[in-house]
């Protein structure tokens, strides 16, 4: 919705063929939660020219390719300001994710991308930012926060408010980053868990929409970015509207089954829009006009 597709690199894959992945190596695997079904993979490009060709902005995704098993699309969790690597946080769900979870550092895999549109960075400039997220959908917002907090970018944005909720403290991802952001003056980070965790906990207790209503971030000159499970989104949008956010100022990210990631294979469409190229980032105003096929 912001950067048009043609402005970005037209080649999503090696040698100008968008179907062929760039070779990358898994440099590090971090288990993100107590349930151990979320792992973050740090990927390093094998070729410098691939790394520089892979120019992205927060909000985009990529197809992670495990030869012999297949490809799956994941939101990019790293920020372009973290130049040396890509991060993907992967939930153990199907065949590709199982193969990834069974991998050890050092394994060579592939990445195709960057794919899709970005958060509306032009529009976000000069605005207060309200980030609302629940569960493991936090990935691209980690990217967005890291990007905005980078010294060269921070002054472009006003106040940054972030609310991140999970079922229990053990399910919150990116512990290191969260700790750093909590101490930072540049962002007001609020953590929440669904119910009393029965352990020392200095964050909020309650479901994300309720905590959001309680914290009531200001809507004036602000844009909200919301990522989370469908049920959370459904109850969060009315709260944001109560707080005064216009439909255009509520930014969401969609997911649909994908294969090609480049608008050809025809399966991820919602009406005439393809999530892989016209999305995944849509405003609530845009989504309202589309049929509910996601």
């Amino acid at each position: 919705m912001n950067t048009s597709v043609s402005e970005r690199n037209a080649t999503a894959g090696r040698a100008g063929n968008p179907y062929i992945p760039y070779p990358v190596t898994i440099a590090e695997i971090t288990v993100e939660n107590e349930a151990r079904d979320l792992k973050t993979f740090k990927l390093v490009f094998e070729n410098e020219e691939d790394r520089s060709a892979f120019a992205y902005l927060p909000g985009q995704f990529a197809e992670v390719s495990v030869l012999g098993t297949g490809e799956s699309p994941f939101g990019i969790a790293s920020s372009p300001t973290e130049e040396d690597y890509l991060l993907f946080t992967v939930k153990l769900t199907g065949t590709v994710t199982a193969e990834l979870h069974a991998s050890e550092p050092g394994r060579r895999i592939g990445v195709r991308g960057p794919l899709g549109n970005t958060f509306p960075w032009d529009r976000l400039e000069g605005k207060d930012i309200v980030i609302v997220s629940g569960g493991f959908a936090f990935t691209t917002l980690r990217s967005a926060i890291t990007y905005m907090l980078a010294p060269e970018n921070r002054k472009k944005y006003g106040n940054i408010f972030a609310l991140y909720g999970a079922r229990s403290p053990g399910e919150l991802m990116y512990k290191k980053e969260l700790a750093a952001w909590k101490d930072s003056q540049d962002i007001q980070l609020h953590l929440a868990v669904d119910r009393d965790p029965g352990e020392p906990w200095d964050g909020k207790v309650g479901l994300v929409p309720n905590v959001l209503r309680e914290l009531a971030p200001k809507a004036a000159n602000a844009i909200a970015m919301v990522c989370g499970p469908p049920i959370m989104i459904r109850f969060t949008i009315p709260v944001l509207q109560e707080l005064g956010f216009a439909k255009e100022d509520i930014i969401l990210s969609l997911e649909n089954r994908m294969k090609c990631g480049i608008g050809k294979c025809g399966r991820c469409n919602v009406g005439a829009k393809y999530v892989c190229v016209d999305g995944p980032v849509f405003s609530f105003a845009e989504l309202e006009k589309l049929p509910p096929e996601y």
Partner: protein, 159 residues
């Protein structure tokens, strides 16, 4: 996932041509845990000789063998498939092999109807005490498959 059985019915791993140049068929044998697998084990500890190109897949009962397993083995390049369970009447689960027998009767005839050589897919009964019978059976199957040569039909053409 990588642990799943069919993905691992890969006969490719087996050496097919020995240094001497003689062709050795790849045989996948599905053996029931209670009789035939124990029979194979007995053949082993009794040092009875049978061809080396057999890969045994242990199943809880011959009734566990779905014709899809056999197809998958053939598709992945097995030259022969053997399924063996307890003798009728001796099933650990009372009647598993009797239900299996019906399935196998049809499988055998059906595959031959399509033009799959009868030697390729064989069924037998071997008890836990029949180490000798097991080695004879294996030698018989290997000889049969050798006679018809390397599998071509149904083998998936992959790089």
């Amino acid at each position: 996932m990588s642990q799943s059985a069919p993905q691992h019915i890969h006969a490719e791993e087996l050496a097919t041509v020995e240094p001497g140049g003689e062709w050795h068929p790849k045989i996948v044998a599905f053996l029931c845990n209670w009789c035939s697998y124990a029979g194979a084990d007995l053949a082993g500890v009794s040092r009875l000789q049978y061809g080396p190109n057999v890969r045994i897949i242990r199943v809880p009962c011959s009734a566990r063998v779905n014709p899809q397993f056999i197809m998958k083995a053939l598709q992945n390049g097995a030259d022969g498939v053997l399924v063996s369970g307890c003798h009728p009447g001796d099933c650990h689960y009372i009647s598993g092999n009797l239900v299996a027998r019906r399935k196998f009767t049809l499988t055998k005839r059906f595959l031959e109807f399509f033009g799959i050589e009868p030697e390729r897919v064989q069924f037998s009964w071997v008890s836990a005490s029949e180490g000798g019978r097991f080695s004879e059976l294996m030698n018989r199957v290997i000889a049969d498959v050798k006679r018809v040569g390397p599998a071509r039909r149904l083998v998936k053409n992959l790089p």
